[in-house]
Amino acid sequence: MTLWLMAGLLFTPLAWAVLTLLMDFRKGRVVTWLGMLVQLLVSLGLWAVVAGDGGFHYALGGWQAPLGIELRVDGLAVTFVLLTALVAAACGWHASIYLDPAKSWHRYFWPLYWFLWAGLNAVWLGGDLFNLYVGLELISLSAVGLVALGGQAAALRAAIRYLLAALLGSLAYLLGVALIYGQSGSLSLAGIARLTEQSGGDPGLAFALMLMMFGLALKTALFPLHRWLPPAHGIAKSPVSALLSALVVKASFYIAARLWLELGDELGSYALAQGMGLLGGTAVIWGSWRAFLQPKLKQVVAYSSVAQIGYLFLLFPLTWGASEAVSMQAQQGITLQVISHALAKAAMFLAAGNLIMSVGSNRVEALAGVSRFLPFSLFSFGLAGVSLMGLPPSGGFAAKWLLLQASLGSGQWWWLVVLLLGGLLSAGYVFRIYRASFVEDSDIDHFYHPPRSLEVIPMILALLSLGLGLAAESVLSIMALPFEEGGGV
């Protein structure tokens, strides 16, 4: 049973990528719907297995590490696999209606989409540093391809910038991997963690960890390395922006978090932890402020991603040297933040895409009067905004509540300022969009009405993000499932 689930999970995206490469857009769309169904069922099945029996190690094809690929299937990984299945299926469904089949280059959307999905699954389940690198590269290359798809010079410029940043980040990460392997002779995350526990902190390994953190922070667009993100996310097609903001930046953060939680206690330092937190906090405030000033709708949403990513980096100070209970609270808060931001931001980008499609312009002022013509999409945008602001009962509220408790519990009250200011500023940029859309003195009275299904998808995602706050307990209980240790060479 597990064998089939794992094979389905990893094999389907790669097989579908090759299949859809051979087809035109319309056939690729039908085949993709089938693949999305398979992925959703398999992810749900795996989630149920892990929820029932706990996590396990899985050696792909029976080959043991270090030459084989060893996967670590635990509660956190299956939660993210399921999240990916949900969000990617929603974005793919949206794209299948949103993209114009008459344009021949749109057929390449499907192979890139499936390669992206394959890379994401590989990162969530990866147990050794090198395969995480391969997964990251698969994600970056397909994401860059998606940004550039059918674009003009400005889109290509954004894509090249994104590619260069991603490549530099990967090389820094890979150099860190090389140093760690040279020092410890192991690639498995669990194995390296055991070694450092025995030998204590080592300056060589600490430097390697710093290099990897730098590379991953660049890929996650942590302030001040965020400059590549707004142009790339702003100019891509809306379903692509949704995928990038919701899932792609989370993959590199996930690796950074796993590294930190396994190795941070021995190899990290108070200064490194606080420094990462400070950059994250600055990102929250700077990103929200920039979002408030942007003249284009999708740039507002893209800068909002920079801000929301900043919250994630509070994980570093809140777990370093903290008691078990506080560290657990911080980890749960960050997990909820990842999930709720993924759902809310995907909803927001898809709704923004509908609004832009309707008024035919990407400027915020052009939204005047759209509230009467497209109230449904505007409402989804607002519901997603509620989660970003962190108002109850949304997932964003639950996440920030846990982070707040963790800050107080560890005596680091200064992060409260970030949490409060960030919420206020996000309210600012969401209401700015609303204000623009309620202006009535517009002389435009012809709005294009997008198909109903395009409006339903962001609404579903926004409602999920809102409801996450109510279901937080059960989501977190799966994530924290005990994991049988002992694997990993």
Binding site: P66, L67, F130, Y133, V134, E137, S140, L141, V144, G145, A148, Q152, A153, A154, L156, R157, A159, I160, R161, L163, L164, L167, L168, L171, L174, L175, V177, A178, L179, Y181, G182, Q183, G185, L187, I235, N362
Partner: protein, 103 residues
């Protein structure tokens, strides 16, 4: 100093030169070459550092092979993007040109 350490140091030096070029050069193709130089440096570090008791370790060799495949894929994608970008905008750098209409 063993010969394998020499390889590792050469790799670090290559990385440094590559990084300098990657940041300082403006022409996109040169940036790409600098990235490839950096990549070679990383591979050299990987193979050079991992020689235990004078015996070569097969694992990093396998990793470097995979790494080279990834680097080729990335380079190919970058070349295609740069070529298309040059055709559309006539530029070889990422600077915003004033004459282009803002989107």
């Amino acid at each position: 100093m063993t010969s394998s350490l020499l390889y590792a140091f050469a790799g670090v030096a290559l990385c440094g030169i590559g990084l300098f070029g990657f940041i300082r050069l403006r022409h996109l193709l040169r940036k790409l070459m600098a990235f490839n130089l950096m990549g070679s440096g990383v591979f050299l570090v990987m193979v050079g550092l991992a020689q235990r008791q004078g015996e070569p370790d097969p694992v990093p060799q396998a990793l470097v092979l995979t790494g080279i495949v990834v680097a080729i894929a990335a380079t190919a994608l970058a070349v295609v993007l740069i070529r298309r970008y040059y055709h559309l905008s006539g530029q070889t750098t990422l600077d915003e040109s004033p004459k282009e209409p803002s989107q």
